[in-house]
Amino acid sequence: MPTIVSIVLGALGMWLLLPRPSLRGRLAGAALAAAAAGLLAGQLPGLAAALDQALFSILAAVTVASAAAAVSLKNPVYCAIWFAMTVLGTAGLFLLQGAQFLAVATIVVYAGAIVVTFLFVLMLAEPGARAAYDRLSWEAMLSAVGGAMLIGVLSTVVGGLLAGGPAGAAAARGEAELAAGVLQDGHVAALGRAMFTDYWIAVQAGGLLLLAALVGAAAIVSGGRSPAAPEADPRPPEDQPPAEEH
């Protein structure tokens, strides 16, 4: 049925497009032809998979490129923006895998809060971003080597998983679990249940860590002073008015 529709549309569009004595309707013809081509392309087997693959490649390329830009650019504000772009790309990759909650939570927490705070501090501290300590990498060699080692370890492990090594069985089981529930409708409920049953210790530990950080921040801000230090009154005590009734 869609095939027939698209063929008819295509014929109509082609007729309008072909050079006839009157040139009216060529734009409409082009639109019709494009629609027909799209409809026909939709009939192609394996198109969805190819699109998925293409989308993945684009998102991955964007993520990696912006990650590289985030560490290599000189202007710290641009670095922070590219970091945000990396986070968005990662969220897109999550979304492509069907992990909606993870994707959205990544955006809320990282792009929406943490990177914005980075930007905020960067702009406040050094609006022009011209100081040498902002523009230069401190431990270039160490960073490069450390990053390379991390990538090496990770790719070895992930490669081992894909090859079906000792961890392969676990990965397969994980995928079965994914297929069974986590990506279905209502996967948020499944995720929440998992977090607060199977992984509750990890969640509580993470919460505790954040609480400790919060307490530390409050301690640093107050500088050891009592927060409710009364302000000095410039007046001599006998001049202070009695509490006026009103």
């Binding site: 869609p2 409809l39 939709g42 009939q43 504000v77 923006i81 945000a84 909606q100 909650f101 959205v104 939570a105 955006i107 809320v108 792009a111 929406g112 809060a113 914005v116 705070t117 930007l119 905020f120 702009m123 406040l124 609006p127 409708d185 209502g186 996967h187 948020v188 409920a189 009103h246």
Partner: protein, 407 residues
């Protein structure tokens, strides 16, 4: 394939509708503002080259044409790339937000057609958090635009705005969580359907949540009394001081869209979405006629909330920045947490025994919710730092006059 076409149609309809709505809401706002100031507002522009005025309905088109044909001036001292990109970021984030706004589900009654869910992204299981996430991206538009402008007033506006948006996201999220907990789903459709099924809107059961959400969404949309980011009296125009022409229009429309989105969310979360007693039915799927009534009811409610936004703008003065931050962290966040804990306690411990005892659930929840609002509001007031009443005090003036005359 049909899914793609269906989505495209939905996208076109919602973007077209939004752009038209934004344009005409500007007119509505100008008229309402004028009425509040005892004026009449723009009522002249009608059909061009004729004398027909149509109550000024041509004004938005004239405004749009003016914006488009204005010189797009880019100051020499700006950071080109970010200066151009920032309004786009804000605009796109504001539009993408509407992908998760549900208008109900319609059954066309044609054999072989599944009921159509009138939302651009029907498969989105995280609905409300998605909106939350996208709206948090809008901060970038403000922050980058202000920084790229390389102007101290713009920068002040941007920094204020960033601090304000980040701070108020927290009470906003906590207020949403109360509703989500009561419904048991993040999907906005499910939240509306739950309210429609019981006939008890969340405003009755969670007034405290509504209070927190209302204040936070005012702050998130950056309108008075929370428009510190662009307070004209202090900062020229705030973060968009250096913008002109179509870029400025993008900023202004994006801000409008944020207000519209806030109104949609308030209606969806607290005022029953498309539901109205005796008018729209209460099942999730509707026929064409009922679906149209539902959309009309929904849009009417949203318009009412938007009008509230507009009237509030002229009623209350702008907050000072420390008051703004104090309100977010010391008042709204605790109130939101109280609401959240109360909802959790209700669901976990109180609902089952009370319902088993034969009490009407909605009534009990409503009474409890308003009691909670009263108690928590009173507590927050009592805990508020003591302030001075700096309104002109007539009795004091009289007292001093008497004292002077006595001398």
């Amino acid at each position: 394939m049909y899914l793609v076409i269906e989505s495209l149609i939905k996208i076109v309809v919602i973007i077209g509708g939004l752009m038209g709505a934004a344009a005409y809401l500007v007119l509505v706002e100008r008229r309402v503002a004028a009425w509040i100031q005892d004026r009449r507002g723009p009522n002249r522009v009608g059909i061009p080259l004729t004398e027909i005025r149509l109550f000024g309905l041509g004004q938005p088109i004239a405004d749009g044409v003016k914006f488009i044909f204005k010189e797009e001036f880019v100051p020499g001292h700006v950071d080109r790339l970010l200066y151009v990109a920032a309004p786009m970021v804000m605009f796109i984030a504001a539009i993408v937000l509407f992908a998760a706004i549900p208008f109900g589900t319609v059954d066309l009654g044609i054999a072989g057609w599944a009921p159509i869910n009138l939302v651009v992204a029907p498969g989105l299981d995280v609905g409300i958090i998605y909106i939350f996430a996208v709206s948090s991206i809008a901060v970038y538009g403000v922050l980058l635009g202000s920084w790229a402008s390389n102007n101290k007033y713009a920068f002040f506006g941007g920094v204020r705005s960033a601090a304000q948006l980040i701070s108020y996201e927290i009470p906003l999220g906590v207020a949403i969580l109360g509703v989500v907990l009561a419904t048991g789903s993040l999907r906005l459709e499910a939240i509306v359907e739950a309210q429609a099924a019981t006939g008890v809107w969340n405003v009755a059961t969670q007034p405290l949540g509504l209070l927190v959400f209302l204040v936070a969404s005012f702050a998130e949309s950056g309108r008075l009394p929370f428009d510190l980011a662009e307070s004209e009296q202090e900062l020229v125009g705030g973060f968009h001081t250096e913008y002109s022409g179509i870029k400025l229009m993008m900023y202004l429309v994006a801000e409008y869209l944020h207000m519209i989105a806030g109104s949609f969310l308030i209606v969806l979360l607290f005022f029953g979405g498309w539901h109205f007693w005796g008018l729209t039915g209460d099942g999730p799927v509707a026929g064409i006629g009922v679906a149209l009534v539902r959309i009309a009811v929904f849009l009417a409610k949203v318009l009412a909330v938007i009008l509230f936004f507009m009237i509030a703008r002229w009623s209350w003065p702008r907050f000072r920045f420390d008051q703004l931050m104090g309100l977010a962290w010391k008042v709204m966040l605790p109130l939101g947490l109280v609401n959240l804990v109360a909802v959790a306690v209700w669901i976990e411990y109180l609902r089952t025994p009370l319902v088993a005892a034969g009490l009407p659930e909605g009534l009990v929840m409503a009474v409890a919710g308003w009691l909670l609002l009263g108690v928590a509001g009173l507590a927050a007031t009592a805990a508020a730092p003591s302030a001075r009443d700096n309104r002109p005090d007539r009795s004091l003036v009289a007292r001093y006059r008497d004292a002077r005359e006595a001398r």
